[in-house]
Amino acid sequence: MSPKTLYDKIWDAHVAHEAEDGTCLLYIDRHLVHEVTSPQAFEGLRMAGRGVHAPDKTIAVPDHNVPTTPGRNDPKNMTEDSAIQVAALDTNAKEFGIHYYPVSDVRQGIVHIVGPEQGWTLPGMTVVCGDSHTATHGAFGALAHGIGTSEVEHVLATQTLIQKKSKNMKVEITGKLRPGVTAKDITLSVIGATGTAGGNGHVIEYCGEAIRDLSMEGRMTVCNMAIEGGARAGIIAPDEKTFEYCKGRPHAPKGAQWEAAVAWWKTLFTDEGAHFDKVVTLKGEDIAPVVTWGTSPEDVLPITASVPAADSFTGGKVGAAQRSLDYMALTPGTKLTDISIDTVFIGSCTNGRIEDLRAAAAVLKGKKKKDGLRAMVVPGSGLVRAQAEEEGLAQIFIDAGFEWRLAGCSMCLAMNPDQLAPGERCAATSNRNFEGRQGRGGRTHLMSPAMAAAAAITGKLTDVREMM
């Protein structure tokens, strides 16, 4: 048998039907659902008189719209259209009999944080959700990717997706990371190196010592942004850390089934000599704490750099860079550390996990945010929030002058009331710095939780290494 990549193995284990032209029906093990991209899909089922094929493999949680302030269990405290979407998910979950974590449930949170936390996401699975950041679950050695609403309806009705196989891409991070450098810096640096279209048509397998050394939380951060590099999915081979994370989770297998599962999971790695269509290698020690300066996640620079000039780029990127500079109101040559910020947002499916809050709290401990700056922490789930309170992290944030919020997607995409005002500049731990992403006219700089915490203290983009 010819050597296979990890992606090849998971793919092969899930092909339910293959047509002569290579179009496959890929079986889906877990379908995660949220309130924004699902109402039209459920309505489609209803119109066609169809049910949900595998309700026990379908898990729903509202996250995009929900307010992160107290009193949100009362729909009156949501905007009318948000309340309608959340109510639609309530109704659809009940009517179609799928697993559901309502807003009032302590386990509610961002779908990509809840899935792994509850043990729904396991190695070797196929996982989809009507959300591009489904790539997060690839950290477990699962094939996980975002789909559109028509595909959500297709998976609900048939538990399969019509797919053609993507190409294999390897991203290797060799060696060790330097102090102050995190998973977020890895994933942003990869996108900086490959561009936002660098992974188009590919599934990325992240490997190398620096990836192995990451915790599961860090691996989720890396895979989460695979989509920002254009890849269909990001994936990391499961290992003892993965098994340890999964063990004992509410929906992880138990007893003899656990043993059988681990035995299979241990076969999930890329064989020696397997073919990759594209290979990118970065040295771990070359990666610095980075921030974005523009309006594309590929606009990445080390914090020690300066704002680039548009004419330092080539091709179509010249115009795009000029547009970014105008939108971000930045002058080429300005040191990144001279850029003042108005707001700090710590949270999102990229960096809303316990390790992220620990990293930010470690920087903030005993310090205060700069006067006049708005700062908020939005834990990724109710359970992350509870754990952070238990560990004393919440108090560190509160003492530093941060707002300590309830779980949700919040200001990452600003569908709820957490938004930037026009011209407001934000240090954000989220995943997208697109124009208007965090609010019309808002300006986003992406970075790690530790870097965002450092920026909160100084009121400027800051090299966290100087605070360590």
Binding site: A16, H17, T23, L25, Y27, D29, V36, P39, Q40, E43, A48, R50, K57, N65, D81, S82, I84, Q85, A88, L122, G130, D131, H145, G146, I147, G148, T149, S150, E151, E153, H154, A157, T158, Q159, T160, I162, S166, T196, A197, N200, G201, G230, R232, A252, Q257, A260, A261, E298, G315, G316, K317, G319, A320, L413, M415, R432, F434, E435, G436, R440
Partner: protein
């Protein structure tokens, strides 16, 4: 689903790279529970100012492009969020064909579920059609999916590639779910085998 066979229409030029789905349809319009009615908010933040007045410079606000049925754009079109509201908004505006050097994967497959043909051409050919589109309503571009050709207003013909299954579905307006349900025995067979091999799933 709407069929797509042939189209002869005005093409709007949008020569930007990395046009993301947040630009195509900003999040405040994702709170709908319907698929229709999003055309008025297509490219909303580029199209309207803070007081909801049209920005005259934006291509779709120019008189000659108000009825555009084709969009010509830069590489990596549709990157970012998976929101199918992006193709819904494009189709609702009346655009059923996009021409670009490359697309983000999820957006690309979302188009085919909504009667939109996303055509991939090399950059130099997109450049020719971009220039053609800049002629406004004097230039009609013809697209023939069956023949897999685009004809510029000057009569120059470009061929394009498209997946045979996706082409078949688009030409005939076929419903994916109906097609998949015809294979329900294969799915049931897979489920029986998988639940024996991986009962924990």
């Amino acid at each position: 689903m709407q069929k797509f066979t042939k189209l002869s229409g005005i093409a709007a030029p949008l020569p930007l790279v990395n046009i993301d789905t947040d630009m195509i349809i900003p999040k405040q319009f994702l709170k709908t529970i319907k698929r229709s009615g999003l055309g008025v908010n297509l490219f909303d933040e580029m199209r309207y100012d803070d007081d909801r007045n049209e920005i005259p410079d934006f291509v779709l606000n120019k008189p000659q492009y108000r009825d555009a049925q084709i969009l010509v754009a830069g590489e990596n079109f549709g990157c970012g969020s998976s929101r199918e509201h992006a193709p819904w908004a494009i189709a609702d505006f009346g655009i059923t064909c996009v021409i670009a050097p490359s697309y983000a994967d999820i957006f690309y497959s979302n188009c085919f579920k909504n009667g939109i043909l996303p055509i991939t051409l090399p950059q130099d050919q997109v450049d020719v059609l971009m220039k053609d589109a800049e002629k406004g309503s004097n230039a009609r571009i013809e697209v023939d999916l069956e023949a897999q050709t685009i004809t510029s207003s000057d009569g120059e013909v470009f061929s394009f590639e498209v997946d045979s299954f996706k082409k078949h579905c688009l030409l005939n307006g076929l419903d994916d779910i109906g097609l998949t349900m015809e294979k329900s025995e294969s799915i049931a067979g897979f489920e029986a085998k998988a639940s024996a091999e991986r009962p924990w799933v």
